[in-house]
Symmetry: C2
Subunit: 279 residues, 2 copies
Amino acid sequence: MTMETVSLNRSHGGTQGVHKHVSAETGTEMTFSVFVPDHAEGAKLPVLWYLSGLTCTHANVTEKGEFRAACAEHGLIFVAPDTSPRGEDVPDDEGYDFGKGAGFYVDATEAPWAKNFRMRSYIETELPALIAAQFPAEMARQGITGHSMGGHGALTIGLRNAGRFRSVSAFSPIVSPLACPWGDKALTGYIGADRAAWREYDACALIADGARVPDLLVDQGSADGFLEEQLKTQLLVEACENAGQPATIRMQEGYDHSYYFISTFMAGHVAWHAERLKA
Amino acid sequence: MTMETVSLNRSHGGTQGVHKHVSAETGTEMTFSVFVPDHAEGAKLPVLWYLSGLTCTHANVTEKGEFRAACAEHGLIFVAPDTSPRGEDVPDDEGYDFGKGAGFYVDATEAPWAKNFRMRSYIETELPALIAAQFPAEMARQGITGHSMGGHGALTIGLRNAGRFRSVSAFSPIVSPLACPWGDKALTGYIGADRAAWREYDACALIADGARVPDLLVDQGSADGFLEEQLKTQLLVEACENAGQPATIRMQEGYDHSYYFISTFMAGHVAWHAERLKA
């Protein structure tokens, strides 16, 4: 498993790296960022994954997420992957909400997407193996979070892999692709018209179908312009209540969908994960 | 004094705004950002100015500076101006280090720059009046900081206006335009060949010539690629020692010139200013 380091910057008592590798899953070069706090030689640190939202790369949270001080304080490695395969040979859509920058953390089955759009397997299997091989990561202690489409990714990957992730949280997640226009477009395109096949990519459906994690933390801005039509946080509240899934789902008054919101609550999420990862 | 608000985002228990106005000094539209922490109705808050470096606008520190949590904690307004006039009618240079994005916080006297490049008067006079009129700012309590070219701006404006600024700090400042290629190019272009006229735009010369502030705080990364040829921190150490100017000038091991460095030490600078502004 080879990896090329693009940049290393000292920051907040640790090292912020950007790296790239050729992914067998996506058939493309993939770029990701990893923050590693200073640590004793030979020590291994828990890992917090952050999955980004529509239109983002690794760079958005790396530059604007304000996670490093908290990760250094708590001794967590922070991994931020890209949101889709990239490159001239990768098919795309003219919308911002499908194709490049919009992988939705699924393994596509429909042409022409199936060849490259394998972000589920990339995040669930290929990239973790690379992280384990290349970084001082204690892979028995992993948590996952994300924003918007990446909040959907964090919830669904976390719920499907409860044995791997000790902690699952999200910022303004898409809670049910089955119930919103973004999800309808993306899953029809990537997975096809059989909506029963979408349930493993829908946090509310996964919970209704029996998936469980010890608890969930979700922050959502009340002034988020996508709340009513796309995010529909209340569906997750109801799914958790109906299924007895413990969850703390907070509506944050006046906050929107931007990194001004995410960065405000990032340190709190990092601390929440650290408490569970280091228990 | 009119101002147009471009955007407002709730963040870290306050409001991050971006605003623009037509500047009489520069003869152009100027954009700046202001973070205002939540506060009691009618309360006025101390102001911390942040001057940005070469190629930057207000946006770099606003997105990547990680100042909001600390400003909210300490109750400081944070103002980030642009680094030069902008627009099609404004003269420019093909280099990144002169012209647009590189105003050097001087009032130019040379053609064709003199008409628009009046960043000294803009920062010293015009923008403070607008801030006082439009925001809950306690103008008797102002501090100033900045990065690189903006560190030069903060030091020189702070030293020249010690009655106005209670606290002055800088991140990796250009400490002596008289003694580096960036300064040589910019001040020759803006001010002309008479180097005696540059002394009011040179922190080391100002200190040698008698300017004083109660103390100074400077952080500089040891792995900063500009340290040896352009920044020359040691000249400021010597100028302060020779003149008896109190200063804390810290070399931060392994840190570079980027916002990964600035954001690491930002909260410390904000706390340092708050201590002096609220005394």
